[in-house]
Amino acid sequence: MTEQADWPDRLYDTFKRADIRQVAYVPDAGHARLIDRCRADPQIRDVVLTTEEEGVALAGGAWLGGERAALLMQSSGLGNCVNMLSLARICRFPLLMLITMRGEWEEFNPWQQPMGSIIDDVLKLCEAEIYRVRTPEEVAGAAERAVRCAFGDERITALVLSQQLIGKKVWTK
């Protein structure tokens, strides 16, 4: 795998350095390699969700129990999380979300555009810190900063992976 295409491994490396022990997700092509790495790791409990908001609650429970969690989702999933983010906001729980973007670049599905176009606004309204990644070279550094923001500052933190970044892996043969 080329240096360009292995950016999901940089995310996995960051999880390991940060001692992330629970990873929650719904199936997602953009996160597929990271999900596979986490599922293969006996030190990480992977939890498949039926809706992304469950992962916000799971991460809160993990923190109460002394573990760090990460929540993987597509941009459309953020809309499903808005009320559940009240838990992290009221309780000042750290929350690390990795969001693969849809609806912003060479998108084939028009239903992805309404949520994809308001991601930054929704995150800001929910008091989240945003780390946006557009190129493979930015992934490792942004992920490290996002981890420090989430667990060091105890903030809701979103590492937002642009569709240009994901497109290179998912849609280019």
Partner: protein, 92 residues
């Protein structure tokens, strides 16, 4: 049959183990849990509807030694009919 929520919660917690962790559903279930006796190992919800079971799961995965028979209770009751409507009780 009408379910008496307060009595149900009190019954569930009558012989509460010291290390029992309890996460109630938001709203009435939280008050039922308070009425059964405040405890440092209760985590009360007053919002984030639907989160209790998953908070309990994250907690149980993080604390496997405390996993059984500890309870995450999510009890939603339709006040008009007095019926258990949605999530009942989840035991982890």
């Amino acid at each position: 049959m009408k379910l008496e929520r307060r009595a149900a919660m009190a019954t569930l917690l009558a012989d509460r183990a010291d290390e029992l962790l309890v996460v109630p559903g938001l709203g009435s279930t939280t008050w039922d849990l308070v009425a059964a006796g405040d405890n440092d190992r209760n985590f009360y919800l007053w919002g984030a509807m639907g989160g209790a079971a998953m908070i309990g799961l994250g907690l149980a995965l993080a604390q496997p030694a405390h996993q059984r028979p500890h309870v995450a209770a999510q009890l939603h009751v339709d006040p008009g009919r007095g019926l258990v409507e949605e999530e009942n009780l989840r035991f982890m």
